[in-house]
């Protein structure tokens, strides 16, 4: 008779979360069947609406594995949104330069916070709290009113649907075939997700992150691993990811705005 392995604590929690998701989805299917809950588009909408969140969560995972936390992400999303809008509308910049600047700004934000946390050993909560305040204040300084984005290239990106024809379509009342669709943001989110997964599982850097999270002191006394540099580096990367997440959320907001 084979001995059953004890289910690992982490896996157990994951199973519960998955079960919860399935239960809620099933409940939705049963209760809202008549209102079209059973369409595959509903499932895809989950990804469309949360593409930005997926990216941010991927980055946040890396931060949390090292034992830190970042509560500034939300405000930095707002800041990057505002900067994009301001640069494109009021300064009249093109979409691509604006995006690149905003990307760099996200990395810089991350670098500064990472330095303070990893090298000056200030508590992550405090640093990211300050970051949150800072970003929020900067957003208000840039503009107190809403700026709607009318840049054509940006809007084109935001609105371009990717039709998934293989999932089949439905014919609506006007006789037009509606396919299930997703937006490019979902593809970006999935790429980032897979990328982070690969980074964490298969690279030395990823393993170091786990090691730092496990026991920072023993990592730093190991000659083979430069703890501080790695910790700062992984904190910076988190921000890089987080900022990519903000980028996507921007696109989402645009969709709502239009």
């Amino acid at each position: 008779m084979k001995k059953r392995e004890k289910i690992d604590g982490k896996v157990f929690l994951l199973i519960i979360t998955i079960l919860l998701f399935l239960v809620m989805y099933a409940a939705g299917l049963i209760i809202f069947q008549s209102k079209g809950f059973a369409k595959p588009q509903v499932f895809l909408n989950l990804f469309i609406s949360n593409a930005g969140l997926i990216v941010i969560a991927a980055g946040m995972t890396m931060v949390m594995i090292t034992g830190g936390i970042d509560i500034s992400v939300g405000s930095i999303v707002a800041l990057t949104c505002m900067m994009l809008a301001w640069m494109m509308e009021i300064k009249g910049m093109g979409a691509v330069p604006a995006l690149i600047i905003v990307l760099i700004m996200g990395i810089v934000f991350g670098l500064v916070q990472g330095f303070l946390i990893a090298y000056l050993k200030i508590q992550p909560f405090i640093v990211t709290l300050a970051g949150m305040f800072f970003a929020r204040g900067l957003t208000a300084i840039i503009s107190q009113e809403m700026i709607s984005i009318k840049n054509e290239l940006f809007l084109k990106w935001a609105k371009s649907k990717i039709n998934l024809t293989f999932l089949g379509g439905t014919v609506n009342k006007k006789g037009v075939v509606n396919y299930s669709f997703i937006y490019p943001s979902v593809i970006i989110a999935l790429i980032v997700l897979v990328g982070i997964f690969v980074l964490l599982k298969f690279t030395k850097f990823g393993r170091t992150i786990y090691a730092v999270g496990g026991n920072e002191q023993s990592v730093s006394t190991d000659d083979g691993i430069k703890c501080q540099a790695d910790q700062a580096a992984c904190l910076c990367d988190q921000w890089l990811l987080m900022f990519v997440g903000r980028f996507l959320i921007r696109i989402e907001y645009l969709r709502w705005l239009c």
């Binding site: 000056l120 050993k121 200030i122 508590q123 405090i126 709290l129 300050a130 305040f133 900067l138 208000a140």
Partner: protein, 351 residues
């Protein structure tokens, strides 16, 4: 010259030096832009002036910071639900005093009943948090996140979604001033809370136990100290402080505004604890440090308002100042600086 150096070394060696120094720095930076900052006059029998405003408005924060200090010291975690608990306490108090109506001109139930109910509400919230952290060993930030999210909803339920007004003169006294006494009442409340807590910590072994548990909970348990109970009590105390603070805040606006009472104050409370030189990882703590930190944050806010900065933009300056102060206090920075000094000295000697 040596005596001077020795004096400075001793001065900077005091734990509270840096927090006090920062407070003084913030206050004196006012002299540049607002010369009338330190003016104190008496209007309507009450002391009036920027400084008085700082001390008055900081009282809510001071009470919160006292509770937060104990939580941080005992468990290394933070209680981010205090703002919401303030809101709940205010809602409970106003609900009892108004008997469920939206606006009253006299107390429906005795005032003391409202006060006790609010304090009890705070304690109950603290018990909830404490149970989750101490017994179920959930991460403090996650556990208090529950009340942080749900607290204001609960307060809304109690006030039925309306702002409950208590238009009774004696209710306002807690938040503004008792006739005949020029100092605003919240200042007294804050002082009493700080004093009582200090006495509690010094005259009983509670202070010692909290520090022990904070530094190493497992070792304390092996020594026979009930770590779980101490951590639980610290959260209950934090809830109590939040309840008192909620009472003061609600009395200031003589109503229960479920959405705005204590909004974002939890973050300020944590900042106050950090500014006071306390390590957010737990262990040794300084109550006085947190109090100084609370006044510093309030002084910073008032300074910025006095300089004419718009309320939306204040967070930027707050953030920068906080990071600078905390960076100055970080031991890593001191190590870097002393290394630099040593390199410079040895460089000079070699040259």
């Amino acid at each position: 010259m040596n005596k001077g150096k020795a004096f400075i070394k001793r001065l900077t060696g005091y734990r509270l030096f840096l927090p006090l120094f920062c407070l003084v720095l913030v206050l004196f930076s006012n002299l540049i832009k607002t010369p009338g900052f330190f003016e104190v006059t008496i209007k309507n029998g009450v002391l009036y002036g920027y400084i008085i405003d700082v001390i008055n408005r900081a009282s809510d924060l001071v009470i919160l910071a006292v509770g937060m200090t104990l939580v941080v010291a005992a468990s290394g975690g933070t209680d981010i639900s205090v703002g919401a608990v303030m809101s709940v306490a205010g809602a409970v108090c106003c609900f009892i005093l108004s008997g469920g109506q939206q606006s009253v001109n006299e107390f429906v139930n005795p005032y003391i009943l409202g006060v006790l109910a609010a304090i009890l509400a705070g304690i109950l919230c603290g018990c909830f948090n404490g149970f989750l952290v101490a017994k179920l060993k959930i991460q403090p930030m996650v556990a208090t996140l529950i009340l942080f999210t749900a607290g204001r909803g609960i307060a809304q339920l109690i006030t039925k979604g309306q702002i409950t007004y208590i238009r009774v003169e004696s209710y306002k006294m807690l938040g503004s001033s008792i006739p005949g006494i020029p100092i605003p009442t919240p200042v007294f409340v804050a002082m009493i809370v700080v004093l009582l807590t200090y006495v509690l910590l010094k005259k009983t072994t509670l202070g010692l136990y909290i520090q022990t548990v904070g530094i190493n909970a497992k070792a304390s348990k092996l020594m026979g100290i009930k770590s779980a109970m101490i951590i639980f009590l610290s959260y209950v105390f934090c809830g109590l402080c939040a309840g008192i603070s909620g009472l003061v805040a609600s009395s200031r606006i003589y109503s229960a505004d479920a959405n705005n009472i204590g909004l974002n104050l939890e973050l300020d409370a944590i900042l106050a604890v950090a500014l006071g030189g306390n390590s957010l990882a737990g262990g040794k703590f300084s109550l006085l440090g947190s109090v100084i930190g609370a006044y510093t944050i309030q002084a910073l806010s008032t300074t910025l308002y006095a300089m004419g900065v718009s309320p939306d933009q204040i967070p930027v300056y707050k953030a920068v100042v906080v990071v600078v102060i905390v960076a100055l206090q970080s031991t890593e920075l001191k190590r870097m600086v002393s290394k630099l000094q040593m390199n410079v000295k040895s460089g000079k000697k070699v040259a």
